[in-house]
C-alpha cells in the first residue's frame, strides 16, 4: 500500500476533526497587511553585495529572564497525552488502576504517575499544544529546533540547545554549555561552529568515557599520562602552540587543552559519575541516570546551561496498557521510570535550591489518538499533545489551555495568542526564560540572509507562553 493510501485509510479510520500537517497558522487581517506592507521583496538586495558580516539584530523584546538553566526532556516516540498529562478517562478503556484523581483541579493518573502527581503544585501543564507533523523523525527534529526541519533553514538550523550555547558560553568554562544525555540522534549545532555542538553522553556510573587513559587510571602529576602528554607537547609543540597566524590551528589545540582539562578532573568525575544508591533513588533506569547526571551537572555550575534528555520508546501502537504483555513496551513499563526519574530530579533541584533558576520542559514530538484504543490495543499518532513546565518561576498547580471532551483538539487555547501552542512557541518560551531575546536574527548563516532564533519573529507569529509565569489557573 502506498504512503498516500495509508494516510487516507488512517484518516478514514479516525474521523475526528483534525488539523492537518499542512494547515497553516492563522493570520489575521491586520497581520496580513503588516506583512504585506513591510515589503518583503527586494529589501536586502544590494546591501548584501560585498557586505561584511553583521552582528545579530533583534527587536529588543522584554524577556522573562528567570532561568539560568534549562532541562529539556524529549519523550520521543510521543507519549499518549490523554493517558497522562491531559487525562481523559474513557469508560471501559482506561485501566482502573490509573486511579484518576483531581489535584488542584487537575485530572491526574495517580496510579500510573504517582510521584509526579505529588509534585503537581510545581507543574504547569500546557494542554493546548499541537504538533505540526505526524512523522517521528520530522517532528522530533521540529521539537528540537523549533521550526520546520523540512523547510529552508530547517536543514542547517541548530538545536535550541546550540542557540543557548552560543548565547551563554563563557570563556574558560569547564563544561560545554549544551549537554545531550541519551540523545545519540539528537539535532546538533547546525551551521554553528562545532564549539556549540551538544556534548553527547550516555551516562555511565563511571563517568565520561575516555577521560581516563587506560594506561593510567590515576593521572597523577608525573604519572604515565602526564608523561605522554608532556612528550606530545615536546615533539609536536612547534605545530600546535603560540599560533600567531589565526584561529584554526589554535582551535585544534584548544580542543586538546579542553580535553586534557576534562581528564582526571575531580569535578568532571564527581559530576558525571554516580553511585548506585543515587541511581536507585532515580529509579535505576537509563532515564533516571540521565536525570541524576543532569542534576549533578547543574549543581556543579561549570557553565552548562542546556541539558537535553531523550526518553525513548513512547510509540505505543500496540498494547498500550500491557494487557497482552505486561512486560512489553507500554505505559506502565515506560511510566514508572519516568515517574521515578522526573520526580527525583525535580525534588533534588528543589532541595538544592536549583529549581527556581532551572526551567524543566517535558514534551513529546506529538500526541496520540484519543478515545477507544485501536484494534491493536494501541494509540496512533495525533497532533494534539501536552507539554509540562516546571521551575524558574513557572507558577505550578495549573493547566494552561484545555482540550475537547475526548482530548482530540484544543478547546480553549488558554493564552494570549488565542491559538494552539506550537513547538515554535515552546522554543520562544525557553529563550525568554533564559533572558535570550527570542526575536534575535543572526546574520552569520551561510546565505547571509538571517537566521531567526524563532521563525517569523519579525511578524510576531510565535512567542513565549508568558502565562506560565502568571495569571490564574485555568483547568
Amino acid at each position: 500500500m502506498s504512503e498516500r493510501d495509508r494516510v487516507r485509510r488512517f484518516f478514514k479510520r479516525h474521523p475526528h476533526h483534525h488539523l492537518t500537517f499542512f494547515q497553516r497558522p492563522y493570520v489575521s487581517r491586520r497581520q496580513f497587511f503588516q506583512i504585506a506592507g513591510a515589503g518583503v521583496t527586494g529589501s536586502f538586495l544590494l546591501p548584501r553585495l560585498g557586505q561584511a558580516q553583521q552582528p545579530p539584530t533583534s527587536q529588543g523584546v522584554a524577556t522573562q529572564n528567570t532561568a539560568k538553566n534549562v532541562i529539556f526532556i524529549l519523550l520521543a516516540g510521543a507519549i499518549s497525552h490523554t493517558d497522562t498529562f491531559d487525562l481523559k478517562v474513557v469508560n471501559g478503556v482506561t485501566p482502573t488502576n490509573f486511579a484518576p484523581a483531581t489535584v488542584n483541579g487537575i485530572n491526574w493518573p495517580m496510579g500510573l504517575l504517582p510521584k509526579i502527581g505529588a509534585l503537581l503544585p510545581n507543574l504547569a501543564l500546557v494542554r493546548s499544544m499541537q504538533a505540526h507533523a505526524l512523522v517521528h523523525t520530522l517532528a522530533q527534529h521540529w521539537t528540537q529546533i523549533g521550526r520546520n526541519p523540512a523547510a529552508a533553514l530547517g536543514n542547517i538550523a541548530p538545536n535550541i540547545g546550540s542557540v543557548v550555547s552560543i548565547e551563554k558560553t563563557q570563556p574558560g568554562q569547564l563544561f560545554p554549555a549544551f549537554i545531550a544525555l541519551n540523545s545519540g540522534a539528537c539535532v546538533t549545532n547546525g551551521y554553528f561552529p562545532a564549539t556549540y555542538a551538544p556534548f553527547k553522553l550516555n551516562p555511565l556510573a563511571t563517568g565520561i568515557p575516555n577521560t581516563t587513559n587506560p594506561d593510567d587510571p590515576v593521572g597523577a602529576a608525573g604519572g604515565r599520562f602526564s608523561q605522554m602528554y608532556t612528550q606530545l607537547q615536546a615533539i609536536d609543540g612547534p605545530l600546535r602552540t603560540n599560533s600567531p597566524y589565526g584561529k584554526p590551528l589554535q582551535d585544534y589545540n584548544d580542543f586538546y587543552t579542553a580535553a586534557q582539562q576534562m581528564m582526571y578532573n575531580k569535578v568532571v568525575d564527581s559530576t558525571f559519575a554516580f553511585s548506585s544508591t543515587d541511581s536507585a533513588r532515580y529509579g535505576s533506569s537509563s532515564f533516571g541516570n540521565a536525570c541524576l547526571v543532569a542534576k549533578q551537572v547543574l549543581a556543579a555550575n561549570q557553565g552548562t546551561r542546556f541539558i537535553l534528555i531523550t526518553n525513548l520508546n513512547w510509540d505505543m501502537h500496540q498494547d498500550i496498557y500491557g494487557q497482552q504483555n505486561p512486560k512489553g513496551n507500554n505505559l506502565y513499563t515506560m511510566g514508572t521510570p519516568l515517574d521515578n526519574g522526573y520526580s527525583a530530579l525535580l525534588t533534588d533541584l528543589q532541595t538544592g535550591g536549583l529549581l527556581n533558576q532551572t526551567m524543566v520542559v517535558m514534551v513529546g514530538e506529538f500526541g496520540r489518538t484519543v478515545g477507544p484504543l485501536s484494534a491493536a490495543g494501541g494509540r496512533d499518532h495525533w497532533l494534539q499533545q501536552s507539554a509540562v513546565f516546571a521551575g524558574a518561576g513557572v507558577k505550578g498547580g495549573r493547566a494552561i489551555g484545555s482540550t475537547t471532551a475526548d482530548g482530540s483538539a484544543t478547546a480553549d487555547p488558554g493564552w494570549g495568542r488565542g491559538r494552539s501552542i506550537n513547538p515554535e512557541d515552546i522554543e520562544a518560551t525557553i529563550y525568554s526564560a533564559l533572558g535570550i531575546d527570542w526575536t534575535t536574527v543572526r546574520h552569520d548563516d551561510p546565505f547571509g540572509r538571517g537566521f531567526e532564533y524563532v521563525p517569523f519573529s519579525d511578524q510576531n507569529l510565535y512567542g513565549p507562553i508568558n502565562e506560565l509565569w502568571g495569571g490564574t489557573s485555568t483547568t
Binding site: 500537517f21 497553516r24 560585498g50 527534529h141 536543514n155 587513559n213 615533539i235 605545530l239
Partner: protein, 637 residues
Amino acid sequence: MCRGFISCFLILASAASAQDGIPDFVVPHPECLLFGPRYNEFVSKALNLNNLTPHRAAVGDLTRNVAARLAFVPPDSRTFSFAQPSEPGTIDFYIFGALQAAGVTPAPPTTDYEFIRRVTLDLTGRIPSPSQVSTFVSDTTPNKRARLVDQLIAAPQWIDKWTMFLGDLYQNNSQNSQIRRFPDGVKALNDYVRGALTANEPYDQMARDLITATGTNSYQLGTLNLLAGGVVTGGPIQDIFDQQTANIFDMFMGIAHVNCLLCHNGHGHLDALSLWGSQTTRYEAWQLSSYLSHTEATRTAAPGAVNGQPYYWNVADNTKAAHLDYPLNTTTGNRPPRQPSGAQTNVAPMYFFNGDTPRSGESYRQALARDITSDFQFARATVNRFWAYFFQVGLVDPPDQFDPARLDPNNPPAAPWTLQPTNPQLLNSLAQDFINHQYDLKWLMRTIVNSQAYQLSSRYNGAYSSAWDALYARHFVRRLWSEEVHDAIAQSSNIVPAYTVASNGTLNWAMQFPEPLNTPSAGNAVTPFLDAFLRGNRDDEVRSGDGSISQALDLMNDPFVMSRVKSNGPAGSLLVQNLSLPDSQLIDTLFMAVLSRHPNGQELATAESQLASGTRSQQAENLLWSLYNKVDFVFNY
C-alpha cells in the same frame, strides 16, 4: 532547502503575472531560503559573491597555520619558476597564467614525501605504506608521479573511497527524515556505484542510469534508491516531483536554486544570490519538475516484514497516480499552493535552458536525463565538484551554487555582478576536456592530480597574502575524513579490525562501510570514535572537517588507539615488530609508518632523548601515541 513550506503561512497572489497568468507567490523571508541536501557546503562554506568566500579564507588560514608548523622542512624546497611553459588549455596553463598575471609567486612544488601522502589520501583514503614511500622517493625515473597516480587509481581502495564520496553526494543512507532504504537498499546503490566505478562507466551514463531507473525492487536494482530519496511523505505527489527535481539539479547540475524556484519566482528572493535565479520563475521550475510528474515511487513490504518494514521501493512511470503533466491542483503540502491559472491546470515538461521537450518514444525521465547530460553545465558542475574535493575549494564554491548567468567569460554579467568562477576559462576548458574524454572520472582525477597546480605545496616560502587564495597559489589542507583517521591508525599499527556490518558481512576498513552511521554492528565500540570525527549521516548532519573535544579525548584515550600503541600487543603489530630496533631506526620506522615521512632533526633528537629516559618499551609506546596525536597526522597537507 525549500523542501518544506509547511509553516510558511503567507501566500499572496500578487497582481503581477509572471508567465501565462501564473501568479507570483510572495513568500516571506528569511525562512524560505535555499539549503539543499548538500548543506555541508552551505554550512562550512559561504556564498561566492566576490570570489572571496569565508570558506576560502578559512581553509587558507588553516593551511597557513598547518604549513607554518610542519616540523618537516624538506631540503629541496625551491622557488617556483614560470619558465617552464604549460600547454595551452591545461589546468596549469590557466592557474599559472592567472598567477603570473597577478604577479604572484606560487608555493614551491611538493616534495616526494608530501606528494605521495597527499595523493594517496586524496585518491584512496589511505596513507601510503612505508615501503611505498621509500620506493617512490628513491625512484629516479621520469614520470614517477604519473605512474604512482595510475597505480592508485587502479587500486581497490580507490573504489572504496569514491563509493563513499558518491554515496555522500547521492545521500545514500538507510533512513532519512522521510523514508528508509534499509541496509539492503543502501548496499544495492553502493553495489551499483562500485560496479560503475570498477567498469569506469562514463559519468553521464551513471547520471542517466540514476535518473531513469525503473523497476520493482530497490534491493535488487540499486539505482532506484536515488529517486526514492526524494520521496516526501504525507503531502501531495507534487511535493515528491519537486523534491526529486531539486535533488537531481543539485547533485548533477550544481544548481541548488532550482529548489527555491519550485516555491516561488526568483525575483524578490534570489536577487542577491543568483543573477540567473533572479530572472527565473516558478513556472519555469515547474517545467523541470514536470519531467518527474509521470513517475511514482511506491513501497512494497519485503518478505518477512513486520508492520510493513522493511520495505523496498518500486519506481514506475505513467501510473494511475502519476500520468498527468505537473498538475496545478493543490493548496497543501510542503510548498505554496499549486493552483490553476485560468484554464491552465497542468504544466508540460520543458528543459527551459534550451527549449527542448520530450521526444516521441521517450519517457519524460529519459528526456530529462538526455537534456541534463547533454547540457554543458552537467560537465561543468561535475568537474567543479571533483575540483572542490581535490583543492578544498571549488572554482565555483560551494559546488552546488552555480549561477548559470555568470559563467561565460565572453559574456560577463553587468556590474555589480562578476563572473562566478574564480577561473572561468579553466572551468570551461576542463569541462570541455571532460566531455572530450567521454565523461571519464578516472581521466578527470588523473588530470587534476597530475597538474602542477595540484602538486603545489601547502608551505609557502616568504610572505603570503590571503588575497592569493583565490588564485590557488598554494595547496589547502584538510582534516582527514573520519574513515581515513580510522583506516590510517589500523593500517599503520598493523592491527586491522574486523567488523560485522548488516547486509555486508565482514569489513576491515571504515572506508568500506556502506554509510557513515550506525556501523559497525553493536559490540564494536568504534562507532562513537568514528562519529567523533564528524562523518555526517547523509541527511541532517554534515560531513565536517571541524575539530572537537571528543576527537582529542578519543585520539588520546580511546581503546581503538590505545590498543594499537602497545609494546606487548599482537605479534605482527608495528611496535612489537620493531621494538628491538636501535633507537634512531625505531623512531624512523614509526614516523614512516604513521606520518609517511622521516623525522626532522629536532624531532629525532627529542624522540631519542625520550627513548633514553625511563622504561624503553613504555617510552616507545608514548612516542607512537604522540605520533597519532600529532597535528600532521590528522591533516592531509
